[in-house]
Structure formats: structure tokens, C-alpha cells
């Protein structure tokens, strides 16, 4: 019986001595609802974008200002004419700027094409009534952004 217990222990050890488990866990990010009060016919869609906290919003229209250098990530694309959308964007803890931008080209095409994406300022429209929102993301917490109305 001692042999059996020893063998059992050895085999159990062999089974659990693999690399440390790395399960998916609770994540941090920003989420909420955006309501679109109007859409411009020139748009193909919209997307919620996260920029670095150091993006100078006043210079976003300057052709030489590299907006892409401050780009962090974006939400799933929002179809033209959508009245309201629930969104969530996963982020590491830190400070960011959050904004909605209208897209002059198909969202899928822009987001999948690296060359176009690097010149993103050429394909976006800034909402008339919505300035970037500064947000702080904390460990394993969702920053809820509500009462967000956007007009294109």
C-alpha cells in the first residue's frame, strides 16, 4: 500500500507541476452609454476612441500634429444612424482621454488598414457638442461614463 501511495503522490505531482495558471480575471476599463442626437450624412459611422492624457485637443486639426502618436485604442464600430449604444473599452490603470469621433470611411476599412489608420485625422469628424473627457482607470474597476450625448 505504501508503494501505491508513493506512486499516487508522484503522479499527482507530475500533473500539477506545470506552469503557473494564468486564468482570465476581472479587468479594468471604461463603459457606459452614448446617445446620438443627430448624424451627418457625410459620415459612414463612428467610434469611441481612447487617447493618451497628453493629447492636445486644440491641435487635433493641424496636419503636422501626429494624433496617432497619442492613440491608445477604440471601441467596436458604431453604425451610421444608431440612436444609442452601450460600449466598453478595456484599459490598463492610468489616465486617458475619451472621445467619440465620426468616421468619413467605413469603420472596418479604417480600423483594419494600417496606412489609413496612421493618418486617422484625415478621416474623422469631431462632434459639435462633445469635448474629450478625461478619465482615470483604477485596478479591476469599470469607470462608468453616463449622460453622454453626441451630435454630428
Amino acid at each position: 500500500m505504501r508503494f501505491a501511495l508513493t506512486l499516487t503522490a508522484v503522479l499527482l505531482f507530475a500533473m500539477i507541476s506545470c506552469e503557473e495558471a494564468d486564468s482570465l480575471e476581472a479587468i479594468a476599463g471604461v463603459g457606459g452609454t452614448v446617445t446620438f442626437t443627430s448624424w451627418s450624412d457625410s459620415l459612414e459611422g463612428a467610434v469611441i476612441v481612447i487617447f493618451d492624457k497628453n493629447l492636445d485637443f486644440e491641435r487635433i486639426d493641424e496636419p503636422t500634429y501626429k494624433v496617432i502618436d497619442y492613440f491608445i485604442t477604440y471601441s467596436d464600430p458604431i453604425s451610421l444612424g444608431t440612436s444609442a449604444v452601450n460600449y466598453f473599452i478595456q484599459l490598463e490603470p492610468g489616465e486617458y482621454q475619451l472621445m467619440v469621433i465620426g468616421l468619413l470611411v467605413d469603420p472596418g476599412q479604417l480600423l483594419a488598414n494600417e496606412e489609413m489608420f496612421n493618418e486617422i485625422q484625415n478621416y474623422i469628424v469631431i462632434p459639435e457638442n462633445s469635448a474629450p473627457r478625461g478619465i482615470v482607470i483604477r485596478e479591476k474597476q469599470i469607470n462608468e461614463q453616463t449622460d453622454w450625448y453626441v451630435q454630428f
Partner: protein, 737 residues
């Protein structure tokens, strides 16, 4: 949307007539052909042994004992025979000079002794005939009825995931990394049910729910290219699920399984107030009637699912009739009718709510009916020659409801004739012809049809301890009436069995796969990606090489049984078909230049201390890469795990059977749609570590099994933005009458 009802498919009535005819045939008085029947028992305990292979030497006759150890061989010619009884862990036993005559059934019960030096295991898939596993030209893994019963699984895919080198993504089979994930539009692993192809006609996908798991006798997994014997889709391997024949004595089984899903371990992910439940109830009855035998099974399943839109409801009726006509004729008919409804989602809501479905798709679901009708007819022309005929029909109709309604109607017909001949005690041949016709009318594919015609030949010569086999297959494919391809695929294999406990094998062969209708004609949208047709796809081809060995030994000190498996394999593909997104977010199935998958597989199985402990472990390492025409590596193939380790241990003591299982898959190195965002942590990919545990006990005619799957609630994704299995605790009770 096309308004085609299921009844318009026109097969329900047809299949019903076939079933009724078969039942009527049971009542017809056929001449009583010679039969041999009896029970195989453990010499020590007297318990019936299930899954014992019983073969008549030098002929095509053979069968397997049922769960109680009973067997029956019928359709014999009068004469004298030698019967071989073999089973893993027991000494082989030969009964010589068994005389049979017309109208005089022979009763022959035998006892097998455990703890042996060597014992063969018989497989039927790798060479399309019964064969000692040590003489198989390719790597073959087997799953027996005890293992299936011990896990009390409802879906076969739950068992296959714990076999060496086998993984599944969303139900798609992946043997040694050949398939990856093709968005359900094609597979390189062929699924057979009793030797008949079971892949869908449009996408080559598998509907696992049509497999009557509780009626499965055994599963054989051939892990090397099987194109030369089985054609397209078998280039990565073959899984053959073999259903049981009805046992000798009448038997009724009633079983129920109740499962409770856990709430997510991460509180923020909780998405429902009460825990999800699973119910599965089955009633089956089997009996022999004269020379014939039949079983019928009714299954009702209701599953809330571990995540939103993972729910499923199904009613499944299946039946198998084994008919013995006269002295040399036998036939079998298998019918399966599945009505199911299920939720449908392609991605999660978000990484903050991974168990929820996206807004706007909460009511997405499908409803469908699938019918499988398989028929076998075997004619033993002489002791040296047998002819097998297989016919199959498959109909699948389903509708999708919700935000984006759609429909699909598909059918498949398969015909096969195979003749085997033993020219001498050392030389045999096998010749066959197969035909298949597929039709599909679906919103995302359009209306298409395809057909194939193939012939195959296998020659086998034994020279002392060596077995040399040479096979080839010629096949022609047509799609929408136009010739798609003509392929010739040869294979050559050499097996060396120097001792009764060791087999070494080396093989090489070509493989091929024609693109499926889904790969050529799908037009759909998935997340931000659009899938567009590519009718210019051409067939992919492969060159497979394998060297392997199997060692089976027993009675070595404290060890009752030891099994070692090792294999080195190298598969090179040309015109490999993969779904590739371009810079416009459009996915086409394309012939990428070339690909290569090579690897190593090591397996260990042992039983010790008078079967007190058993242990199984297998490790597979893959190197799956895309290459250019010169063989230079371009990229890692997506949706493949480089390392794969499965391990299980069972303890059998005090009437209890306790087991734990572990499955490890290394982190996927490459995916196609959403790559990991290193700045935000989004779409993170992690390795897979899943633990299961179970305990079961037989008490008279009752069988109880308590199991927990994913014990530690480990969360991972394989396909992007799709979380996998939540912990579920199940309790199964079965009563046999």
C-alpha cells in the same frame, strides 16, 4: 428568406418507411444460420468483460462483447472455426475446432486472465479491416465503453478533447493541429460513424448531437493522413465512432443526468440570478429477435448553458437494427432524428461581461432538424472474400431567428462498395468504390451542389515479422456541374512487430482536401469583418510522414499493464486553405503558399497494484508554420496550441471509481481576427489549464456518477472574444433492467 419547411425536404416519410420495413423484417422467419454466442468473463471475478474483441481467424467475421460481456457471431457458414478473444489488460485466448452447423446455435463462454505479458487490441479504421493495434501502419488511439461510461458524457466532443493530440475549438476537431479553426467552414479531420462519413455537406462541420453517445461501443482515432483510404477531409486524421450492437439479452436502460453551472468566480461577471441547469434523460431498449437484434434510444436534453445564448434544447431518437439473413448475409440500419433549438452568438458582449451576448443579439437562435440514415450490408462470399456495402443519407434543415434571420437546407448521399480478399495467409487486398452527392441551399452560401467519385485499393503483404501495405485512391470532384479536381493519392507503410509486445511503424502518403462549398461561397459578416466568396480556391494537398512505436506489456512487478506510444510526424501542405483578413477587413478563404506541421507525440498508460491505480498521460508538441515555396518560415499558423498535455489518474477501491483529469494547452501564438493589445490588455490569450474530477459506483443494476468539470473555474479563450466552459457539477443515475 426562402420558406422551405422541414417536411419539404421529403425525407421524414422516407426514413420512416425504411425504419418500418426494417422492423417488419424482424418478424419474417429467415432460416436459422449458424451462430456462436456466449459470455466473456474475468477469470478472477467472474464479471462480464465489455469490449472484448472476438475474431474468427482467417475470415472477415468478428464482433465485440457488450457491456455485460455477452457476444454473438452469426451469419457463419457451417464448418470448424478458431475463435480469438482479446482485450487490453487480458491474455489473448484462442478456442480451436469450434464446429457449427445449420439450426444448431453454439454456446461458448470463456474466461480471460488479467495481468498478462502482452495483449493485442484490435482496431478497424486505419486499414479498413480488423487489425492488431501493434500491426497498424498509423498511430491509432482508442476509447472504450468503460471510459465513455465512467465520464457519463452527453457529447462525444467532451471525451475527444482528452485524447492525445486532439483538441476542439467550438466543436471543430483538430488532430495534431491540422485543422486550426476555419470558422466552421472546413475541416481536415474526418468523422465517421460506423465507417460512414458524417461531415456536413456544405461546411464539412460536425453535428455532435447526432452521435448517440450512450450507445457508442468504442472510438478509434487515426492520427495520420487518411486520404488514401478515406479521401478529402481525412488528410489530418480520422475519428471513427462505432456504435454497439444490441446485447444478447433484452435490456432496458433509464438514465438521467442533472447538472448545475456555477456562478462566475469573478463577481463582476455574474450575469444571471439563478444558476444554470442541465437535464439529460435517456431511455433505451435493446433485444435480440431470432438472429436479429435491435436497440432504440430516446434522449431529451435541456441545457441553460454556461453563458447567455449557449442554451440548447434537443429531442433525439436513434435506433440500430442488426439483421442476419441466411448464412452469409448480414445488414445493419442506423437511424437518428434530431430536433434541436439553440442560442447563437459569435462573440461575447465585452471582456467586462464575457458571459453575456452582445446587445441586439439576445434573441438570436436556431431551430433545426437533422436526420441520419445509414445502412450496411455485408456479404461473405467465401472464407477468403467478403463484400461490404454502405449507404447513407443525411438531411439537415435549420432556420436562424433574431436580428439577422437566415436559413440552410443541405443533404448528402453516400454509397460505398468494398471487397476484401485474402489471397493467401500472408497476402490480402481490399478494393472499393465510393460516391458522394452533396446539395446545399443556404442564405450565406447560395444554392450549390457537389459530387465525388473515388476508388481505392489496399494491398497488404506479411513477411515474417513485417507487414508491408501499399494503398492508393483516385478521386474526382465536381462542383455545380464543373470538374473541380482529380486527385491520385498513394500511401506506403511498413510495420515491424519483432515481439508480441512491440510494434514499430513507418509510413508516408499523400493527402488532399477539396475546398468546401462554405469556403468557396460564404458571404457573411462577422464583427467588423466581412467574409466574401472565393470560387477560385483550389484543392490543398499534403505529404505526410510518420514514424512511431507502440509497446504493450504487463505483469512487471507492481505493474499490471504498461503502454507506451511514441510518434514523430511531419506533414507538409501545398495550397493550404486558411481564412485570411485583408487590409479592407474582408476575409477570404485563400490558398496560402505552403504550410508545415511537424511534431512529436509521447504517450504513457499504466495500471498498477491489481488495477488499484491507472494513469494515462500524453504529450504532444507541434511546430505549425506557414512557409513559402522554398520552405522558408513566414509565420506561425493561427489557432494552434504548440504544446498539448493530457493526464488522468483513476483509483479503483472499495467499489468506487474515482478519477481526476487534467488538460493543458499552451497559449495560442497566433490568431486571425483580434490580436492581443499590449497597451490595454484587451484580447489577452492565456494557456489552458482545466481540471476535472469524478467518482462513480455500481450498485447492483444502478450506476451513479458525480463529476465536476473545470473544478478550479479556470477562464480562457481559444477563439477570440469567446470565453470557454464554466464549472459544472453533474450527477448521473442509470438503472438497467
Amino acid at each position: 428568406m426562402k420558406n422551405t419547411s422541414y417536411s419539404n425536404v421529403g425525407i421524414s416519410r422516407f426514413s420512416l418507411i425504411i425504419v418500418i420495413l426494417c422492423f417488419l423484417l424482424l418478424g419474417v422467419g429467415f432460416p436459422q444460420s449458424p451462430t456462436i454466442s456466449g459470455r466473456v468473463e474475468d477469470a478472477k471475478t467472474g464479471a462480464g468483460l465489455p469490449g472484448v474483441n472476438i475474431q474468427i481467424q482467417g475470415s472477415s467475421f468478428g464482433t465485440t462483447s457488450d457491456l455485460d460481456g455477452f457476444y454473438q457471431l452469426s451469419g457463419l457458414n457451417p464448418g470448424e472455426y478458431t475463435l480469438s478473444f482479446s482485450m487490453m489488460g487480458y491474455a489473448p485466448y484462442n478456442e480451436r475446432n469450434v464446429a457449427v452447423a445449420l439450426n444448431i446455435p453454439v454456446q461458448l463462454s470463456v474466461q480471460l486472465k488479467s495481468n498478462v505479458l502482452a495483449s493485442p487490441q484490435v482496431v478497424v479504421t486505419s486499414s479498413r479491416k480488423a487489425q492488431d493495434i501493434l500491426e497498424s501502419p498509423f498511430s491509432v488511439a482508442t476509447i472504450g465503453p468503460r471510459e465513455i461510461q465512467a465520464k457519463a458524457v452527453v457529447n462525444m466532443v467532451d471525451i475527444l478533447s482528452y485524447e492525445s493530440g486532439v483538441s476542439t475549438i467550438k466543436g471543430q476537431l483538430n488532430i495534431r493541429g491540422t485543422s486550426g479553426y476555419t470558422m466552421g467552414a472546413g475541416t481536415r479531420s474526418l468523422l465517421l460513424l460506423d465507417g460512414i462519413p458524417m461531415l456536413g455537406s456544405a461546411a464539412g462541420n460536425v453535428t455532435w448531437a447526432t452521435i448517440p453517445t450512450s450507445e457508442v461501443d468504442r472510438v478509434e482515432i487515426v492520427k495520420s493522413g487518411g486520404s488514401a483510404m478515406y479521401g478529402s477531409s481525412a488528410m489530418g486524421g480520422v475519428v471513427n465512432i462505432i456504435t454497439r450492437n444490441a446485447p444478447h439479452k433484452p435490456e432496458t436502460r433509464i438514465s438521467t443526468k442533472v447538472g448545475v453551472y456555477s456562478h462566475p468566480r469573478v463577481d463582476e461577471w455574474r450575469w444571471r440570478d439563478s444558476r444554470g441547469l442541465l437535464y439529460n434523460t435517456e431511455i433505451s431498449h435493446s433485444r435480440s429477435i431470432g438472429n436479429h437484434a435491435a436497440w432504440i434510444r430516446i434522449q431529451k436534453r435541456s441545457d441553460d448553458g454556461f453563458m447567455e445564448l449557449n442554451w440548447e434544447e434537443a429531442l433525439n431518437i436513434s435506433a440500430k437494427l442488426k439483421l442476419n439473413f441466411g448464412s452469409a448475409h448480414s445488414a445493419a440500419v442506423f437511424v437518428n432524428v434530431l430536433d434541436d433549438k439553440s442560442g447563437l452568438t459569435s462573440v461575447w458582449k465585452s471582456s467586462a461581461s464575457p458571459f453575456e451576448a452582445p446587445d441586439g443579439s439576445k434573441k438570436d437562435r436556431t431551430e433545426g432538424r437533422k436526420i441520419v440514415l445509414n445502412g450496411h450490408y455485408n456479404y461473405v462470399y467465401s472464407q477468403d472474400m467478403a463484400i461490404k456495402t454502405k449507404l447513407s443519407g443525411y438531411w439537415n434543415g435549420w432556420d436562424g431567428y433574431g436580428a439577422d434571420p437566415y436559413y440552410s437546407r443541405e443533404n448528402r448521399f453516400y454509397e460505398e462498395v468494398q471487397a476484401s480478399k485474402s489471397w493467401s495467409s500472408t497476402f490480402s487486398s481490399l478494393l472499393g468504390i465510393t460516391m458522394q452527392q452533396n446539395g446545399v441551399d443556404a442564405q450565406i452560401f447560395g444554392d450549390h451542389n457537389s459530387s465525388s467519385l473515388a476508388s481505392f485499393l489496399l494491398l497488404e503483404k506479411k513477411l515474417h515479422q513485417f507487414t508491408l501495405s501499399a494503398g492508393s485512391r483516385w478521386e474526382t470532384y465536381r462542383v455545380d456541374g464543373h470538374s473541380q479536381d482529380q486527385v491520385f493519392t498513394p500511401q506506403l507503410a511498413l510495420n515491424w512487430k519483432p515481439t508480441a509486445w512491440l510494434g514499430l511503424r513507418i509510413s508516408t502518403g499523400q493527402g488532399f482536401r477539396v475546398p468546401t462549398v462554405a469556403e468557396m461561397f460564404t458571404s457573411a459578416r462577422r464583427s467588423i469583418f466581412t467574409i466574401e466568396p472565393n470560387p477560385d480556391l483550389v484543392s490543398e494537398t499534403s505529404m505526410n510522414r510518420e514514424f512511431g512505436m507502440t509497446l504493450l506489456a504487463g505483469q512487471m512487478g507492481m505493474l499490471d499493464l504498461l503502454k507506451l506510444d511514441a510518434a514523430i510526424f511531419h506533414n507538409r501542405f501545398e495550397n493550404f486553405i486558411e481564412p485570411i483578413p485583408d487590409s479592407e477587413a474582408v476575409i477570404h478563404f485563400r490558398n496560402i503558399a505552403d504550410a508545415r506541421i511537424m511534431g512529436l507525440e509521447l504517450g504513457l498508460g499504466l495500471s498498477a497494484f491489481n488495477n488499484l491505480i491507472d494513469y494515462k498521460s500524453a504529450f504532444t508538441v507541434l511546430d505549425p508554420v506557414e512557409t513559402n515555396a522554398d520552405g522558408d518560415i513566414i509565420d506561425t499558423l493561427s489557432y494552434r496550441h504548440r504544446y498539448h498535455w493530457i493526464s488522468s489518474m483513476g483509483i479503483h477501491y472499495w467499489g468506487l471509481d474515482a478519477s481526476i483529469e487534467y488538460r493543458y494547452l499552451s497559449r495560442m501564438e497566433s490568431v486571425e481576427l483580434f490580436d492581443e493589445n499590449m497597451m490595454t490588455g484587451a484580447d489577452a490569450r492565456v494557456p489552458v489549464h482545466v481540471w476535472n474530477a469524478g467518482i462513480g459506483r455500481w450498485h447492483k443494476d444502478w450506476h451513479f456518477v458525480l463529476r465536476v468539470e473545470n473544478v478550479f473555474q479556470y477562464y480562457y479563450t481559444q477563439l477570440e472574444r469567446n470565453i470557454e466552459e464554466e464549472r459544472i457539477m453533474t450527477f448521473s443515475v442509470e438503472r438497467r433492467f
